[in-house]
Amino acid sequence: MSVARLPTGGQVGRDRTLRFSFDGKSYEGLQGDTLASALLANGVHLVGRSFKYHRPRGIMTAGPEEPSALVTVRRDAARSTPNLRATQVELYDGLCAVSQNRWPSLRFDLGRLTELFSPLLPAGFYYKTFMWPRTAWHQLYEPLIRRMAGLGEAPLLPDPDRYAQQHAHCEVLVVGAGPAGLAAALAASRSGARVILCDERPRFGGSLLCDDRSRIDGLAATEWVTAAIAELAQNPRVRLLPRTTAFGYFPHNHLGLSERITDHLAEPPAGLARERLWQVRAQQVVLATGSIEQPLVFPGNDRPGVMLAGAALRYLKEQAVMPGRRVVIVTICDSAYRVAFEMQAAGARVAAIIDLRPDPSPAQPDGWQQRLRQAGIAVETAARVLRTRGRGHVSAVEIGRLDAAGLPTGQRSIDCDLLLVAGGFVPSVHLFSQSRGKLRYDEALQTYLPGDSAESERSAGACRGLLSGLAAALQDGAAAGAAAANASGCAGEEPRFEIIEDSTAATAGRLPRAEAAVSGPKAFVDFQHDVMLKDLDLAMREGFRSIEHIKRYTTTGMATDQGKTSNVNALHHAARGLGKPVPSVGLTTFRMPYTPITFASFAGQARGEIFDPVRRTPMHGWAVRQGAVFEDVGMWKRARFFPRSGEDMHAAVARECRAVREGCGVFDASTLGKIVVAGPGATAFMDRFYVNDWSKLAVGRCKYGVLLRDDGFVYDDGVVARLAEDRFHVTTTTGGAARVLAMMEDYRQTEWTDLDVWLTSTTEQWAVIAVQGPRARELLAPLVDGLDISAAALPHMAVVHGTLRGMPMMLFRVSFTGELGFEVNVPSDQGAAALDAICEAGKALGLTPYGTETMHVLRAEKGFIIIGQDTDGTVTPDDVGLTWAIGKAKPDFVGKRALARPAMHAPDRKQLVGLLTRDPRVVLEEGAQVVDVPGQAPPMKLIGHVTSSYASATLGRSIALAVVAGGRARIGQTLHVPMPGGEIPVEVCAPVFYDPKGARLNV
């Protein structure tokens, strides 16, 4: 048996011991232990070093508020979790934990030297000390500070575990499964409401788990808990979530819960998620989040062996661990007395109770004085702990009284190996505050309580200030649960409980919180950030008046524990120091998460191949077989080029370009957005939406459409076909498909409600195969089942319905290459078969697959723009030479009014031009800047930039498109592109490099 484990009692499984290691040393624990209780059972109190001064620290609490006992738990190199609170880590067989923030070892830590320099490291020291020289911050100070001060280390390997997320809905969410929460869940569930009950601990019951004296409905408290859980568990409309922290309360009763599924298991089942993040939408929320006991501030209050009194009680009752044999208790309230009785009864010697109150007895239950006398427990009233002694562990406390001047009198020393601190319980209002409920200050309890709710929410039990008495908490929870059920439309009834309370369980009494602090060396307020009382005093001396500013200057309450054990003491000390009432000093904000949440749980399942959809066209498999190299365009995978053996991209693209210019090429254009605009108002809609005039477009003909926003700038483009008088087939850019449809819907629904017109995306209905090149018609003619596709029957910019080898087809005579071209549209399921037929027929003609890179070169040779590459949201139609597309006679279209603004016609607007490098082998970099005066020293006067640039195999030289201020007037001029290797001279030319008359299209 471990040194501090009692032979009987507790709620631990004694049939089997669990082996675990801490800093490489092996220990034994029991099922039901936390790492903290198991370490205490083995007499291990020193578990970490503090953040700033590397002071030895022990286990101060038994719950999520633990500021000091932070450890790293390692399963393997990738599964290593830093900064876990040992008080929450459930023990399993084989658990391996290591301490943090020490080097080379926990007992001998060189970082401890920082404490020698602590006079140099006051609050705000980094604002003052490390300012000069400026460069030293990154090179010297920051790396040094990061190494010396800090927490555990995150693993460098990818996280191999799975994480899950799930949405859930309920009528009543109950947060916290202590007496109030259990009663609320029972009351709500009996109404038939859907109930979710969560608690961060592995077992439900809260404070009932360490209460073996009270009785509820004739049962011992723990038996009643078991019965309550059994009732809830057999109700199919109740979801019970132990090991689940409600970490965030978001608007409209939306709460984030983090469920830890496998961390407590020695061998987690393969494939099971490690954590699940629940996103719960609750009609009503009952917060039963309990209270947090506060420490007291006095010199040496951080020494290992100093522990919260309530924590010691939990270790004693839940895990049968006696954290010390000779105990001194310092308190400002009655809760310490129960702990004293229980410790004494379990065999410890309670040397003294140091009660800060001058006269604690009036509020205390009858019989306590007699019990104290019988037990031989001395009570020192109006006394304080002036300091602690001990190397690595507390061995004695020096107590005394303070005189009117605040000076100590009557000091004496009491030996002890455990100093329990009872600074009063403070309601846990974190979630209530996150929900934007208003907190109100309660003078009697000297703390903030929930005031007006902002959400459909109610607090119950200790978290709303009912700190004394089990009956009050239970009945309050029952009332809240019933009321929540009623508010959600279910008929809830408040159960009544028959309760016999433990007579020593009082927690009240006057709380002299403001006077409780004893200043002096190493009197810590924030244990995790090493903030001392004198740091707060310094901040106030330096003029900080608001607790928000004091917090930021001293960093009190800003550690990972968010000040659960420091904010209250800091606030009261600040109020006292500033001579103001507590409420007027302000209150720091409670933020999510309540306790730290892993990044992975926020990612959930969305990792790797399902992080984002990967969209593939119906002909994707064909492109794979052809050896395509793909590029991402939005979510689409598009074939970029098709290298043959030994080819790089340049060679492949050059070959593909030549094939299209000289013979024929085939290209998967399926990703282009397609929208059917249909209805009697379709023509009017198109006239108002696009710049073009659609009224004269004949059925069966196409037009290049240009879309502006109402600010006059080019937004999208694409070929539009008129399929019927009242039906258009609109194509958009690949990336613009969704946003163009959304913009169309916006105008249709909110501006032009006079039009009977409807929109339907058909992007994925059709597989689109572009067949381009002088031999394209020759290739397709035999495949289209007798359809006449001659120049006369199907001229450039025409569309016809037909079949291709029996497959339904819409055939467009369009070209984005400048060559004779067709786009074969077949229903998506038939895309692959249609493509196979075309490729088979194309064998004799040298049909060559080409990709997006070749498409880009071919269109650039023709000066066809790509939206988003040659335009950037500040480009007018005139800037890119598209004025011809505008229907001049139309009274209005989207963007027309803005185009009339003078600035849209300024002669120095950036206009699309071509650039030819003087050296034809030089290919400009896209994005490179253009200047007109060479040899400038920076900052140069920039007059434009390169938008597209390629090596053109057709032309045997490089070509580029650029937007240049007043560009069209500069045609023929020489400009310069400054690059790191020197300026590149370029000649400005028209942006059409190949077949400017379009002779090759109209054949």
């Binding site: 809905h169 494939g271 969209r615 593939r616 209805g679 994925e764």
Partner: protein
């Protein structure tokens, strides 16, 4: 069908679980128009219009009509092909302002039938799928993580999902991943 990739990477491979199966109707249309056009279409189809949010009609027939919006319906035909059905509807709608668009191959149908179906859907769909809130026979457009879907509840644990074809692979992979927490011995 020469190209397996076109039918969705996830389907027909080891990823396709028994509880998630592709179901392929004969035709799909998006029908839009005013109340009289929608009523005329319903008469031609011989089923009631799905004329309220979340409503479906056609139960017991070979047609399923799902309310997508006040003037928008999704029509799924399980037997009649698109050419025949489209012609029949256009004839019935002659003279009525409307839009009828064949989307048979724009999307695919997946049948999700498992005891954990609603929980699995809730891994990516934030709707309240309690049978009292989203009863059998409901249908709606919604989302599953990063893809839009149309969700139709055929039974308490039996859903039909319509998704654009290029998002099917994503949806199937996502569900197979998430299902590990509900059916580890799948």
């Amino acid at each position: 069908m020469s190209d397996t990739a076109s039918s969705g990477i996830g389907m027909g491979t080891t990823l396709a679980p028994a509880w998630l199966q592709r179901v392929t109707p004969a035709a799909r249309f998006v029908l839009q128009g005013g109340p009289s056009a929608l009523a005329a279409a319903a008469r031609a189809l011989g089923i009631p219009d799905a004329d309220a949010p979340g409503r479906c009609s056609g139960e017991g027939t070979t047609l399923t009509l799902i309310w997508l919006g006040p003037d928008e319906r999704l029509l799924i035909a399980w037997l009649e092909d698109a050419a025949s059905l489209g012609a029949r509807l256009e004839a019935a709608l002659a003279g009525q302002a409307h839009s009828l668009v064949d989307v048979t191959q724009r999307q695919v149908g997946l049948r999700l039938a498992a005891a954990f179906a609603a929980d699995l859907l809730n891994c990516g769909c934030p709707l309240d799928l309690d049978p009292a809130r989203f009863p059998v026979g409901s249908g709606t457009r919604t989302l599953f993580n990063k893809t839009d879907i149309v969700l139709w509840r055929r039974g308490v644990d039996d859903f039909h999902i319509e998704v654009w074809r290029s998002f099917e692979d994503y949806l199937v992979r996502w569900m197979a991943e998430a299902a590990q927490d509900f059916a580890p011995q799948r």
